[in-house]
Structure formats: C-alpha cells, structure tokens
C-alpha cells in the first residue's frame, strides 16, 4: 500500500555506498644531540642508536579491513656536520621485518621524505606489531670525533596519513 503511492526510489542503492576517510595525525618525533652519539667519557662515538617500540595501530579489525593506503611523512633537520642514515623497520610478533625503508639525511641540511604503502606493501605492513628505528651516524671524512661542547641537533618530526575505504 505504501509502495503503491510512492515514487521510484531504489533501496538497493544503499549497497553501493562507499566513501574514503583520510586521517592525518602526528606520528613519532625525536631530537638528538651530539652527546647521545658519544660514549660515557666522550672518548668515542656511538655510531648507531636504536629504539624499538610496540605499535598497536594495525592491530584492529577496522584498520585491517579498511585501510587502503598509509603514508609516512618525515621532516628532518640536521645541524650536525655529518650525514645520517635513518632506517625504519616494521617487525611482526616474531621480530621479523615486514617492511623497512631507509633515508639519508645530509649534513647541515633538511630533508622531507614520504614513504607510501599500498597494495602488497600495505598488506605486509598490516602484519606489523613493532617499529624499530635505527640511526646511523656516518663517520667524518677526517676521522675526527664529535665535540661534546659543540651543539648539534638531529630533529625529526613525522606524521601519517591513513586512507580508509568504507563500503
């Protein structure tokens, strides 16, 4: 009775609803000084710094099912007179690498790096439970070591952009 007096509407269209959510959020940040690359008595350099943290972001049904693209955007500012290599390794529960990437930061310079995951790379990334960040201080050309009294900074800021497709 209701249908007989109503216009042509099509409820099947509801099946075709889809939309993209694009969320941008701050990610990690760090600020390292010359002292963190020197040993206790400042007699030698510590060439590698590592940090491992547990990340929960992929451990949700919503992310697993709907995430279609993940961007990681890095802004790095380096006032060291040295180059750095920064390596990001995503690890699964068994500490095996799922995805990793490295970028080089020039001495006394700035760097913007975008790392995008989609397709197979994203599938692999979604299995990650930990993030390991390793910072490699490149040796100086004249083999001199850092001076604890000369202020230098490696400043890293980052954000993520996740795109979810809902349908």
């Amino acid at each position: 009775m209701i249908l007989s007096c109503t216009s042509t509407v099509d409820f099947d269209q509801l099946e075709n609803i889809e939309f993209d959510q694009s969320f941008t959020a701050s990610f990690i940040f760090l600020n390292l000084t010359q002292n963190q690359f020197l040993n206790a008595d400042n007699s030698a350099e510590v060439a590698t710094l590592t940090d491992v943290s547990i990340i929960d972001i992929f451990n949700s049904e919503y992310v697993q099912e709907n995430l279609v693209q993940a961007d990681f955007n890095f802004d790095v500012e380096n006032t060291f007179n040295r180059n750095f290599d920064v390596e990001f390794s995503f690890l699964n529960e068994d500490d095996s690498i799922t995805e990793s990437f490295t970028f080089n930061v020039p001495n006394n310079g700035k760097l913007n790096h975008l790392q995008r995951f989609d397709g197979l790379g994203l599938l692999s990334l979604k299995r990650s439970r930990k993030l390991r960040i390793t910072i490699y201080l490149q040796p100086s050309s004249d083999l001199s070591i850092l001076d604890k009294d000369v202020q230098m900074n490696l400043n890293l800021k980052s954000s993520t952009n996740f795109i979810f497709k809902i349908n």
Partner: protein, 465 residues
Amino acid sequence: MLLFLCFMMSQSYAQNKKFIFGNNDIPQSLMVNPGAEANYRKHIGIPLFSGIYVNVGSNNLTITDVLAKDGIDINDKLRNQLFRMKATDFVTVNEQLDIINIGYKLHNDRDYLNFGFYQEFDFVAYYPKELTILFYQGNTDENGNINLNNTTNFNELNFKGQAFGVFHAGISRKINNKLNVGIRAKLYSGIFNVQSVNNKGNFKSVLGENNVYQHELNNIDFLIQSSGLIKNDEFALSGKSIFSNMFLGGNLGLGVDAGFTYNLNDKLKISASLLDVGFISYSKDISSYKVSGNYELEGVGLIIPENDPIPYWEDLRVDFDEQVERKEVSKTYFSFPSAKFNASVHYGFGKQIRKYTSIIDCHTNNGFSQYNYQNELGVQLYSIFRPKLPQTAATVYYSRRISNFLQTKVTYTLDSYSFSNIGIGFAARIRKFSLYASVDNVLGYKDLYDSKKMSLSLGMNLIFD
C-alpha cells in the same frame, strides 16, 4: 522497516494538533487547552481509541533526496546531502495513545472536570554535522591536506527519546460568558529515557611545537543518560518493564498545563495554552556514561638511547585515561518533557447552526444557547520547546459545518521548511457517538518517500449533552 524509514524522513512538528486545538466538539481539545470550553455534560473516551496521535518526520531531508532512482550516483547524492544539511536539522517521532479519558460537568455548571491516563513516546535527534563530516571524509580536505584549526564541536550531538505514562486531572472553569480558564495537573510515570542533550567541547588539530601537528580535545564534557533500557549491561526493556514503569513504577515526575479561551464577541475568540511544563525524575535501571577532560597529543616522543624498551603507546593510553575521565554514572537524573505553546484566533461567520443536542436543559437554557457559525476562519501558532531551538509553525484554517453532525476543517501550515502543507480533518457526531480524524500534509501522501512530514490523529468518544 520501510514504513519506519518513510516516517523518519518526513517533516514534522511534533504534537501540532492543529485540528483538535480550538475544536470544542472534540473532548480531546481539553488535552491541548485545559481552558477549552466544554459545552456538554460529560464525555467518556472509548478506551484505547479516544485519542490516537502519530507524528513523524524530518525537517530537511526526504528519502527521495538520497534514494531516488534517477541515475545519479548515490555517493554524490549522499555527499551533497551531508554537506547541505544544517546542525539544527532534526528527525522527530511523537506518538500519543489515550487509554482512559473521562470528563463531566460539576453541578455548579461552571466547572468541567476531566481526567484520565495516556501514554506518550517522544523522540528528537539533531544532525551532528561536524562529527558526521569528520567521520565521512576524515580530517583532511579534498587534496589530502589536514584541516588545521578547524573545530569539530561535540555540542552538535544532541538527542532525546522517552516514553512515559501520564495520569492527569484538569478543570476547565467558565469564569463568565467571555472567559474560560483551565489547568491540568500531570503525574508522569517514566517508562524509559535515553538522552544526550548538553554536550560540550571540541576536537581540533593545530601546528605542533615538538612535532608537525598537535591534536587537541578541548573542554570535553559529554554525557549520555539512560533509564529503563539497560540493566547489568544487558538490554532490559521488556513488556513487563514497560507495563510496570508505565504505572508508577518508580520514575516519577510532575507537570502542569494551563490555558484559556476568551470570547471577544460572539464571532471572535482567542485561546492559548502552555503544556507539559514539568519534569520526570529517572531512577530505575540507570546506565549513564560521562567523558570529560582535556587532551593534547603531538605524537610519540622517542627517547634514545634507552636500554629497556619503553612502552610508548601504552604510556600514551595511560596518559589519555588520566587526562580524559570516562566513567559510568548511576545517579538519578531529571528529564524534561518537551513543553508546547499554542495560541489561536478564531472568527466565526455565516449562518448560525444550532448544535446537536439531545437534551435541552431548561434550568441553564443550555440547549438553546449552543450554536455555532457555519464557517470559521482562524490562525494558529504552535511552538514546541526542543533541546536546541523551539520549533514553530503557523497555521491558517477554514472550518465548515456541513450539517449539525459533520464538521470539516482544512488547514494550511507555514514553517521555515515547507510552504505546501495542507491538512484535512473531520469530526462527526451520531447521537452520542463522536468520531474525529485528521491527516496533515496530505500532498505528501502522493509520494511518501518525497514527503518530510506525516501526521495523523483520530479518536472516538461518547459525548453526553
């Protein structure tokens, strides 16, 4: 389900009983104006059928807007509607069922005492636009750039739904030939309630200091309250709980209606009423949830070198829990029925028709003095006080007595959304049996899916002159 959706998408001003208001032939006019004139000795409503009223709708969206079979991609239509609608747009449902309604004139011949019991369900929800858009497209623009300094306000989240039984007793007194005043006391008995009406705070992202962005939850104060719906984390609404709560089961409240009718002369009269000024105190099966606090997040600051792995993300969670308090509340709370205001001017003209009467009371000369003009023109104003804004409608009507037992009425209602709302109704009287029925927005029935409003009322009473 389709019917329900249909209802949800139609426009409405809940409880705008413009057919009944000012219509002295219908005893239920006393329910919308306790100061209405009752020109009969007594009335007995047919139990459960004396007053049935349903009004459902949305003010600014129809099903056709989104689901028309027009070849346009539904996602384009959905997007357009989500951005077009305003945060003051709403959907509403109101239903009333008179269970018992009785009245009789006291021996002083001035006072008409009337009382009874009815059940009501009332729901209104506003469109939380900013939250919906945040969910729909995220926190970036079309180019993927973050919307900085753009606030998402939580006060847009605003809804109220409740069902209750109402025991009421009113008196309509004829002060003199011109003035009739009335008052009604109400004892509310809350069946269930769920509401979230006074939320505060916002979410926004700004440029950060230590990291690219800082995300902020500012002055969050969110509260959702419910009673009679959840008990020990389980859905608790049942036939038994509805029945026991409806009849003074524990959620009690008080309210008052007041109104008057004033005859400027035998052709012109004005009337006005204020209804449901009161409260209900909900104390049974309370399940409420409160979120409050402030939070700022710049991301995870890594501390290197550190020998032991630091649970950064877990620390964030703990910090969030400390800053933003989330707790269950089981306190008794108040909810307010939506108060309504009615006012009208009626003008009678044309032939005078003596009202149908079976008894002519020689003592009061009642039977002879009861007459009506064949035609009546009127203007009515209606307002219902909703959580965000009062919803107001103005109606012009023409009413005609076709005979002394049949009266018809046509209404034309104007509001800020619709200029084509025509309603029709009739009241018939066959000896002691009185029947009335009305539908609003009749043009909308041609195409319910394209209609914003759907409203009908009907009732049967026995009237003793």
